[in-house]
Symmetry: D2
Subunit: 142 residues, 4 copies
């Protein structure tokens, strides 16, 4: 378990725009598409931590798989909105990662999710997070 909250860069932020493709006939973002948004956030978060998912798979045979999502839909996002996806590590276990993610608009939380990821080999067996990867995701407090 790690407590990276006190690090200056503990919360990763990604700005996105809502396009036509994201909406449905109710005029708001279709509920499954928030999972697309937060997956983009996680991809940019690991990239910002210096982790190359392609190299990780090729060289260490490690992939991440979503195991559980708990998601609350609070306020609908709409076409043309500028939104922000935040990602914050809340748990770094031996073979799993838990993150809290939000979608915000002008500071208001529209959507909040806790996502549990498992670390797997490419054939789907549980794998321990390599130490180098752990160090990148949760750098020790100074």
């Amino acid at each position: 378990m790690t407590a990276p909250d006190d690090l200056p860069d503990a919360i990763h932020r990604l700005r996105l725009r809502v396009y036509y493709e994201d909406t449905d006939l109710a005029g708001i973002v279709y509920y499954a598409n928030y999972l697309r948004f937060i997956e983009r956030g996680r991809s940019e978060w690991v990239r910002a931590r210096g982790i190359d998912q392609i190299a990780l798979r090729r060289d260490a045979d490690i992939v991440f798989a979503v195991r559980r999502v708990e998601a609350d839909y609070l306020i609908p996002a709409r076409f043309d909105d500028e939104i922000e996806v935040t990602t914050r590590l809340v748990e770094l276990g031996g073979a799993r990662i838990v993150v809290d993610q939000q979608v915000l608009r002008a500071g208001a939380v529209l959507f909040a999710a806790r996502v549990t990821l498992a670390c797997l080999t490419s054939t789907g067996r549980p794998a321990r997070l390599p130490a180098a990867l752990r160090a990148r995701l949760a750098p020790p407090a100074p």
Copy 2:
């Protein structure tokens, strides 16, 4: 609260096929797409109960909005799989509906979710479920 489990048709079933569009480069169904699958299941479930979502919106100004999803990803679905989406009502409140949904393949549960829906007016205000609609969703036991 209603207990429709003892009704013969308590569990609604929808058969689907996994297509290219559903997969990602890991060779399995992309995690957000299970929410598309179960939304198709809910659409067919309400249709099977004699509810016309278009008429409901036009005539009664009632729409359903997803408020919360808790989802467990157990076994990945793959390209070309024949899968089944099940929908079972677990709670029918004054202005909300809770359903349990699963995605199965050959009887094995691949994905399980509890979905909470709110009954809203088209402008997003909470609305009580009309009695006629309640009766269709949870017919009284004989």
Copy 3:
């Protein structure tokens, strides 16, 4: 070049339902999603011809890739519509396949596309269509 039009099963048909996921805020099917619909049609067409895409890749290292799409959007499909995707082979070359596909509702053509597919190895090199596969796609007229 083959003229399978006079065969009784020359036109493959797949029935689909339009769900929330397919629509956008204009209340109609989002334009990219017609390509999803017709890809489902092609998948079921090759399956109906006895071709197993997974085995084809695993055993013969053959995949199909879309090279060109010409698509006309005539009438919008809407939420809850029952639509039909038709697929008809128009050309079977040494390493390419051309099909005409339509999306219809109650007999009216909503969308029409000509799709050119290339036959490739899994690493992306052009490959000749195996004879067995050619025979399945365009059986000789009796």
Copy 4:
């Protein structure tokens, strides 16, 4: 007909990242998703021209609908690629707009499309492009 090519800003450019959601099991971007990418490009192009699609619909009852797409798939885009979507006006008729759009990676063209858009009222009737909108899309050469 307008020839805006000699304007410094004649080609609009939007940078995008390829995420998991965009790929399929072949490890490349799913063919329908290029239409999502270029629609984002068109949305940002009209925004850069000072056009607010929401206001246009609300105030002038004008929407754009895709009528035809001709698309060539040249080189596949892959997960994690940084790509660029370009949009260039090629024809501005009384009630229609034709644009050429490309998806590039490191200067190489991966995908090229010609897209024809119709100007419609929100109920789907053809509408003439308002003069103010025409002036924004194709400013007169100095």
